[in-house]
Symmetry: C2
Subunit: 332 residues, 2 copies
């Protein structure tokens, strides 16, 4: 049984309704929608094609609710199905946002292992999530793809990228606030030596970045700045076109000041050389309930225009509306 077998009539599309339903529901509420789907249809949404997921989710959810709402559910679903006026960007953001955070990251991670442009997404998932959130991604990855996140990353990377990315996605960092000042001193020195010698993929440098807690790294990097006169990320800009150095800087930013990292992703995605909707969608769908308020502040202070205005200027239609709803949702 599925909702597509219901009779229908040709209604006009109403993406605003989708936006209204989803953009203002939190992860737990969205998850209960998915649960209702599973109870109604006995299969997991992630086994479906991406857009079908969303349609059936809403369908299943509404069908599983009270009798009198059914007509409304069929109304909503079938007219979307029939008219297919949705754009690809709108589909993607709605569906990514509908997914459970761990499954969404597992989905983005799987996409990212397939090509080298995905390295930054792997770094985001490894460094800008909590240890337990990263762990949930790994569990979701097992369940969805019958493989481990680590083995796919290891299998699809090589050289310096493998040396950095595999330990980065594998580690289960300690999350306490403690930091050891003598360790900060000795490891700041190691980092500075390796960077001065341009040994950017040295195993000691990678050990420190991939295993130490965020609190310890903050102490070490602040010591680095104080002892050697410039922030580590400035020293890691020796060759601005070096993609590995760019990845290292991204990892450090995600670990220490994630809102600045995401501000830059948005700034470049909304820049003059054509909008990168893929990146804007990813940031909006993954950060809305995390640090979107701080990202917006960082954006405004760096670019002098509010993020909402930049988005409104570069996107349009339902995709724009959904983005604005998600960006705004952080304020609620």
């Amino acid at each position: 049984m599925n909702c597509f077998s219901y009779p229908f009539a040709g209604w006009g599309t109403n993406e605003q309704l989708i936006i209204d339903i989803l953009a203002h529901r939190n992860a737990a509420q969205r998850n209960s929608i998915r649960k209702a789907y599973h109870e109604a249809y006995g299969e997991d949404l992630l086994n479906c094609q991406l857009f079908e997921i969303f349609l059936e989710t809403v369908c299943g959810y509404l069908l599983a609710t009270k009798e009198e709402k059914r007509g409304n559910a069929e109304f909503l679903i079938l007219r979307i199905l029939l008219e297919k006026e949705l754009t690809r960007d709108f589909e993607r953001i709605v569906l990514l946002f509908t997914m459970d955070p761990a499954e969404r990251d597992a989905y983005l991670a799987k996409e990212a292992t397939k090509n080298s442009s995905g390295h930054f997404v792997l770094v985001e998932i490894a460094c800008a999530r909590s240890s337990n959130a990263l762990l949930d991604v790994k569990k979701a990855y097992h369940a969805c793809y019958k493989k481990s996140f680590e083995e796919d990353v290891a299998h699809h990377t090589s050289g310096d990228y493998r040396k950095l990315l595999v330990p980065l996605v594998s580690t289960f960092r300690y999350e306490g606030e403690e930091s050891d000042m003598s360790l900060a001193k000795s490891e700041a020195k190691i980092l500075h030596e390796k960077i001065s010698d341009k040994k950017y993929s040295d195993e000691e440098l990678i050990r420190i970045l991939t295993t130490r807690s965020k609190a310890q790294l903050n102490a070490t990097l602040s010591r680095y700045n104080n002892s050697f006169g410039s922030p580590i990320n400035k020293d890691l800009k020796a060759d601005p076109s070096d993609q590995f150095l760019k990845l290292l800087r991204s990892a450090i930013k995600c670990l220490t000041t994630s809102e600045k990292y995401f501000e830059k992703v948005l700034r470049q995605a909304l820049g003059k050389s054509g909008t990168d909707e893929w990146a804007v969608t990813r940031v909006a769908a993954t950060r809305t309930e995390v640090d979107m308020v701080r990202i917006k502040e960082a954006y405004q202070s760096r670019n002098t225009v509010p993020l909402e205005k930049a988005i409104a200027g570069d996107t349009s239609g339902d995709y724009e509306k959904m983005l604005l709803a998600l960006i705004g949702a952080g304020d609620v």
Copy 2:
């Protein structure tokens, strides 16, 4: 408040009672003893010294039970405390066994990071536990030591050992039964090439051993044997005195046939050159509820004497009794 403040009289020791209480309780039951302790004293057992843990555990447990049993509890605890006739080996096995499995492994892991003879213990914990059990060890490690397991291993190892051990303890392996035959073929070939070239710490070899699921590794190693005429561990014996090769073989055995690995640990520990009680204790305390029945079978078929007999011949007193109770517990 703690139990040591109770009045006492000098009774004779009765370790048999401890053995009777503990050796026949499963992990959940032992955990409830620890929980009772926490409720009674408001602090975690792991903050105490090792032996105090046990004494206070039993004390706290019994004190937290019915009034009429209190006299008995004090009787038991205080006479042990006073007489101190317990041997160090007996203390250690009782205490290791009393701990929750994840905390016990975290404790053993912390010990093991401190010197290179602990490398085999790290391999056991990384390879002879399920993915979720290893994860629980990492969580316990965070809670007990305010650091991550990965960072301590990375910090205390170097060279080839670091290259192998860090990814081994970091990985969260997929545990499904699926195996990919074409992957088994291609990765068996890679393993054979690297081993033929004596590149034992090659990153491809380490990637395969540290990231693939146990089911996939079994398929790959069986393909290795069929295609190249000898088991991988035979080819990894080129230099029998090479400690890194020995560690590689141990990892492979723990991942594929853990009972054979532990049979060998026991065989060597109970061998003629003086008993290694530390190793016997570790195997007894960690495997009793896991695969002790299979280890005993493997021991008997390899050594023609039952494991119980070998233990009785090499140990004595309460330590022997506790070992025999634990070894036997697997049969219940």
